[in-house]
């Protein structure tokens, strides 16, 4: 499996006040698949994302991405992992306000030795007319496109999306999700989407549901539908 999480435990606090953010969670995600992790607020999905992104470590258990055990990695190795293997898309885009759309993507491209061609990527993601626009001159959907381009330009193995449509209207949300499908199709990137929006699960190859730190269901979506057909 491309991603394997085994017996993951993450606790906060002590004694009676202990909060189990992850309570012996197990899961697997195959290479090149789209996985959606669903759960209400406080379920532990964000903690899982943090651990998967190398931003945090589990107290117990192990997590492996493409054969590399994140739980054994040093901070330096985790930095390298994020730099070379990981793409991140945030709900609030987090673009650098002083850089144009193209420059935001170029900034990340400069991190890797063999990035995608920024102009081509931008055009492919429908940003050809907005290359020289600053974030504040773009709509939310356009900003999220730029954020996806920024994440994809370094050809990551894994794309983590944290509530990527959370700040968008339904039309923009659909467009962004279509883009995610396109990226998955064109570049074969494994994509993990964390959301509390059940409707997004329709486009996933695999759906994991988390509650109280436990993976309560892990299903393969045999009735996968295209993003453009989803009712968001």
């Amino acid at each position: 499996m491309f991603i394997e999480g085994k017996n993951l435990v993450k606790k906060y606090g002590k004694g009676d006040a202990t909060v189990w953010a992850l309570n012996h969670a197990d899961f697997e995600i195959g290479k090149g698949k789209i996985a959606v992790i669903l759960g209400p607020s406080g379920s532990g999905k964000s903690t899982l994302l943090n651990i998967l992104g190398g931003l945090d470590t589990a107290d117990e258990g192990s997590i492996t991405v493409d054969g590399e055990k994140l739980s054994d990695m040093s901070q330096k190795a985790l930095e390298k992992y994020r730099r070379n293997d990981l793409g991140f898309v945030f709900q609030s885009y987090n673009l650098t306000p002083d850089l144009t759309a193209l420059e935001n993507v170029e900034m990340t491209a400069e991190l890797t030795a063999d990035p995608l061609n920024t102009d081509e990527l931008m055009k492919k993601l429908g940003l050809g007319e907005h290359l020289h626009h600053f974030p504040k001159e773009l709509s939310g959907g356009q900003q999220q496109r730029v954020a996806i381009a920024r994440a994809m330009v370094k050809k990551p193995k894994l794309l983590l999306c944290d509530e990527l449509t959370g700040a968008l209207d339904s039309k923009s949300s659909k467009e962004v999700l279509q883009l995610i499908e396109q990226v998955n199709r064109d570049y074969g990137t494994t994509i993990v989407i964390i959301t509390h929006n059940e409707l997004i699960a329709g486009m996933a190859d695999r759906v994991l549901r988390i509650k109280d730190g436990k993976v309560v269901s892990d299903t393969v979506n045999n009735a996968k539908i295209k993003a453009e057909e989803m009712e968001l």
């Binding site: 607020s41 964000s46 994302l49 943090n50 992104g53 931003l55 945090d56 930095e79 390298k80 992992y81 994020r82 730099r83 070379n84 990981l86 991140f88 945030f90 709900q91 609030s92 987090n94 650098t96 002083d98 850089l99 144009t100 420059e103 935001n104 170029e106 900034m107 990340t108 400069e110 991190l111 020289h132 600053f134 504040k136 001159e137 920024r150 944290d162 509530e163 959370g166 700040a167």
Partner: protein
Amino acid sequence: MKTLNKRIKRNIKNNLSFYLISTILTMLITAFIIAAASTGNTLTDLIQDYMKRLKVENAEFSTYITIPDDEITRLEKEYDVLLEENSYKDIKEGEKTLRVFKNHTKVNLSETRDGREAAGLFEGTLTENFAKENGISVNDLYSFGGMEFVVTGYTTKGDYLFMLKDAGDMFRDNVNFGIIIVTAETYDRIEAEEKTCYAVIYNQKENELDFRKRVNMDYIMKSYIAKDSNPRISSPESEGEGVSGMAKKLSPILFIIVIALVVMVLGRMIRSEQTLLGTFMALGVTRSEIIRHYVIYGIIPGIVGSVLGLGLSVPFTKAFSAFYIENDYEKLIYETEYNIPACLVALILPSLLYVLTVLIVSRKLLKASAIELLNNTGKDTKTINILKERRIRTGLKLKVRSIVGHPGRSAVTVLGVMIASILLLLGFVMKTLMTDMMENGIKETIGYEYLYYLNYLGDMDTIPEGSEGASPVLTVYYEIPSSTNQVNIWGVDKSSEYFKMKTMDGEDVDLNGYYITNVASNVWKVKKGDTLTFYSIADLSEHSVEISGIIDDNMHTYMYTSIENASRLAGFDGVHYNAMVSGTSIPISADIVASTVVMSEHSALFEELMGPIDAVVYIIIVFGALLCIFIMYLVINMIVGESKTGISVMKVLGFSKKEIGSRVLDVNMILVIIGFLVGIPLTFKVAEVGFADTIEEFGIYFKAELNLRTAVGLLIGFVIIFIAYEISLLLQKRKIAKINMVEALKENRRNE
């Protein structure tokens, strides 16, 4: 509201760097302003009180004919003056001179402490600096020049607070020159030549000219020095004004910069809390309650900094006062006085301005609706299009836009570094100018080593025995209208090898003309071709000459001409001299020598005089470097604070610490360089203004110019600024390392 105010403690903890640095800066600047103003007050009041108490002269003069005692009484009545003979005898032993005075009763009184006034035969009170330098204590038996004195106490004499042997000297010499006050009986028994002169106080200033004319008519005036031209009196008098002047000139600039810096950062801090302001509004907290809450943010660094600064100003004032009073002059008993208006301004103004800032920023923010605030729509929305479509590295674009896109922040950074640079460079420029003056100032302009002032007026036909190889000169002082500096006209033998001078334009000096020194040119604002008017000290006759050129001498207010011209100006029949100059010591009879000046000893004295200034220079350098670190730290702290989310995102995206530092922090380097470069010409300007006082006080002109030595000083200054910048960066890099990557995601979750 009480619960709301509980946040303040946490806010201080979260923004500890800001509160700490802004409090320290407020404290330092408050202490500095109060100390500078108070030292000026202390000095001015102390000296004024001292001069008044000891009835210090308005002028001293000597005459060719002695004024009889009954004539003194008559002149006093006729011209409403206080007039007293101020004669003295110099006892010599090796290089040391002990000047003996009787106790005066009308003018230039003396004050005894640590003992009692001399009452018996060969008892005397000594000036303390001379006594200390020579290891003499009260009650010691002091042998000097074949005589023995019982030292009954220490003394200060009103007209000798700044202990110059001759009024024309520039440097005091506590080791080799002292004063002893003895009884009239002892004075009469001392076998040494008496120099007779008179000290006068004009009760009616307008009587001065008539009085001088009358004295000249009846007793023939030999010399006349008004107190403003007498550095023994004018130097301490002007010192207090100088310090006060510095406090008035420099302090407001420093104060404004520091306060502006804190105000700017504080304003930005409040702005960054606008989402929270929106939340408070949504919760029903009233606008005035919110404003009252945020006002505390400004009051804390304002009040704590000012109060600590007020406390710190006490040792600062004591140290500054002690530095000026105890280093430069004879020891005085004094108590430091505090400048109450400065204390009040320094105490109130920072808090007032900080609170005002909070009021303005929060009131402006609160004009928006709660929803607008919650949506954070008040963020800076300026678009910076510079380098927009240029294919260069984004790191560089980010740096350029960070500078241009935040003009307020950039301006304060540049201004802060500029001020820190000025302070730092001022120290180096002062130091290099002084070293230049010490090494070249005297040697380059003066071609002789020995100057023998004769006690008679010689005829050019009869050169004194033993003076072969020496050149006769005639040096006569003249007064310049409305100037405290007198011009010393040097009549020089045209064939003398010691005066082969060139003008600053590179022309040979033709002694048929009249050449003034560079310092004289600056003091009286006259250039080549201008006319300089001066008048004789003796008969007040007026003379005007056209200036033929300027000679590069920044230490002496001299005019050079031929000895024939000088004799004619002095009103002599024929050509006369009153001094001899020589490259080596000459076997001239001691009986005809009034005093000898050895130029290399002058250099040593200058070095000694510069010693205390050196200390000031180093204090300025350290203060500049500290200020630079604080300013840099505050600004970078602000940038890091404002870029937290961006830094967090960069971390998530896999940027290394170095790459983040380069994109977020290194941008300031260019501002540091700009601030430094802008600071250079301003430093020279400030140095020029600062040294302007030395022209009036010492007749020395420090020419602030860029040369190899000052360039080295500037380079060292830049290295210090750079190190200060790197230290503040290093401190902030730790802060960057602490920024949690989850911050970026938290931002997401807040928006959920």
